[in-house]
Symmetry: C2
Subunit: 415 residues, 2 copies
């Protein structure tokens, strides 16, 4: 039986790492045993395992698998399906994921744990600016907030002026949003009211973001900007959560089992290596996935803070978002990290333009608050010393690059 | 104690009209007694009453009252507030309404009754195309569906092509949407797949609509298009519901007590008169409203179908949406009704243009499928014989007038 957070604080769930691993192994085995007998896609593919390390015997599942086979091959329809959600489809055709009653509870509990771990308390008000609807962000945070009996302002995304009016009126202590939209809301709030943004905690996710944006948010508000991680194929937000007192995001391994593989070969990588995150949602009833390749590049960090769960480091990018500059592999968030370390005066707005031009195939466009203080030469040297390549940089005035009114930002522009 | 629909079918709630009225009176009295002692706005304004007819002793509450006094004057904050929603603000500044845990249950139950009364059954799939977020439509229908353990596709509004793909894939039996958006979805579905629109029941509301649109929807699909009525100030959708076998919409009088008043004087009108609907939300904890002027013009109809509840007739329009043509008061939905009776070949798209031009201050713009079959003279005669005025009519080709991608349609255009 899975324990519920309702039974007590996170610390009380497992005595130690060994107990957690034993629990995971037992549940993985019974879960895959059932899939092996009854599931349309996995039937006959999952042989028994004796230890956690034997998980590599099972095949990896890819986004391509999800889209090649009909949805009904993925749904476990013995139990009534009560809800459908959908990935944003930003990397192509969206996948329709399903939820049973237990899955909706799992979703509530996972997000509830994230909120608790971020320091949110009963009685707090959450301004939820994730989009509601088929996207899992809005409904997911809403379920988590209900789990903890929080007050919710279901703002969804868009109508930003209306949102800052509500934030001004209702003074929420917590806000959830994509990083790009949160930056937009803070700018708009400061311009409109000329006072501190009221929330103290921000749950930020649904797109890769770096120290640059984190620093900007924390400098322009009184908030701790904490990463919430998840994906609709697995459950939605709620897979992992950054707390105030540690790096990386705590991953609820008793709900979603993680591995890191080489994005090119699919081979398991040594403890601590950067690679592609693979997740097994072994308590999910309606759309269970075994060894699902998330496409997100990160690494596993050891447990911390008296909790037995391993953490994931920041998401460096997506395996399919990698750009190549003169043979060097770069993620957009790597560039963002350098920008963050370079100057706290930089706006979090930048764009990487990719052209067919063989001479300068990649250009970095920076929106700069006070251009006179920026040494482009210095920044170029820093990038060169970190990655070994020289990026052409173009500086544009404040408020030039497009703001995100809704959804996710596009930081890479193909010309 | 309020009975819950979970205890059985609607028919079992009250033995007869007398028992219902006794229940309403008792609950109204204890509710207003408490408001009279503790509520910021109503304190000292609500004297005791001995019979339901004495309700006229209490003052009417207007939208202007809601917006003049701060939200905290309206919120009953002794009980924790768990959620906020907002009116769409289409008639000006929006009102922020609050919900306690019991209010969220009340909301679920009211919408659940509507779904049940519309013929929806456990196991059915609801495609919910009402906007999620601060607007009460999306979240309200979602709560009602959860109450009955339906399957939900939380489509929200927008991304219409994605919506028809999901309808094609998941074959929902029920759909909820504004009438203008539903017409758009049906047109898009038919064009894309060239087959019948799968749902059998449509819950249509959030804007006034008439026989013209109902006929069009029912002709271009296999659905019964049933009106769902409500407003965020009172609770959201769920106040009243049209069933298949009767005219008008059953109003849950044990939750929301109705009256009809003269829109000009505020005086109670005789049984059966057309006038402004006034509602008292006497089981609502967080934002209770006494004798709230909804701005919606309708009339009360007697109980039917073995249920003790009175019904409301179709919403003719809003008190503030009335147009005057040469001294004659007309609602846009009146014009729509004539169009509906005139020809089933008319598209549901039309616009009323109001200009400063003294000669022809009001023009009716009609989108017509096959202009050769339409006799403008005949239609003008029909309008003249019904309302005593002649409306200039301009005919435009199919697909000329704007489609509603999101939110509510604007059928009156001021030039």
């Amino acid at each position: 039986m899975r324990k519920s957070i309702k039974q007590g604080p996170l610390q009380s769930l497992f005595a130690d790492r060994q107990q957690l691993e034993q629990y995971i192994l037992e549940n993985l085995r019974s879960f895959t045993g059932s899939l092996n007998n009854h599931h349309t896609f996995y039937k006959g593919r999952l042989s028994p395992i004796e230890s956690l390390s034997e998980i590599v015997k099972w095949p990896l599942t890819t986004k391509e698998d999800l889209l090649t086979f009909p949805p009904s091959d993925w749904w476990h329809t013995d139990i009534p399906l009560l809800q459908f959600q959908s990935s944003s489809g930003s990397q192509g055709k969206p996948f329709v994921t399903a939820y049973t009653k237990n899955d909706l509870f799992l979703f509530s509990e996972a997000v509830g744990r994230c909120l608790e771990h971020a320091g949110v308390k009963k009685g707090d008000t959450l301004h939820n600016a994730y989009g509601y609807g088929l996207f899992t962000g809005g409904i997911g945070l809403h379920l988590g907030a209900r789990h903890l009996d929080l007050r919710v302002i279901p703002a969804s995304s868009g109508q930003s002026l209306r949102q800052v009016e509500l934030i001004h009126m209702l003074r929420p202590g917590v806000i959830a949003a994509t990083p790009s939209y949160l930056v937009h809301l803070i700018e708009l709030y400061n311009t409109t009211y000329g006072e501190d943004f009221p929330p103290k905690i921000a749950l930020v996710g649904a797109e890769p973001w770096s120290e640059l944006t984190k620093n900007w948010i924390e400098k322009h508000s009184k908030m701790a900007a904490l990463n919430i991680y998840g994906l609709s194929e697995i459950i939605g937000p709620g897979v992992a959560q950054n707390g105030v007192y540690h790096e990386g995001s705590m991953l609820w391994e008793d709900l979603f089992y993680p591995e890191i593989v080489d994005p090119n070969t699919g081979q398991t990588m040594p403890e601590g290596s950067w690679g592609e995150l693979v997740l097994t949602s072994f308590t999910r009833e309606a759309t269970p996935l075994v060894r699902y390749r998330t496409g997100d590049v990160t690494r596993l960090l050891p447990p911390v803070d008296d909790l037995p769960f391993r953490r994931i480091d920041r998401i460096r990018g997506r395996t399919d978002d990698m750009i190549k500059v003169k043979g060097v592999k770069l993620f957009v968030s790597d560039i963002e990290s350098v920008l963050g370390s370079f100057s706290s005066e930089l706006s979090p707005y930048f764009e990487v333009q990719i052209t067919q031009n063989a001479q300068d195939p990649v250009t970095l466009i920076l929106e700069v608050m006070s251009p006179e203080t920026l040494s482009i030469q210095h920044l170029q040297n820093l990038i060169k010393s970190r990655f070994g390549v020289t990026l052409p940089i173009r500086v544009v005035p404040p408020n030039t690059l497009p703001r995100v009114e809704q959804g996710k930002s596009k930081k890479v522009k193909y010309l």
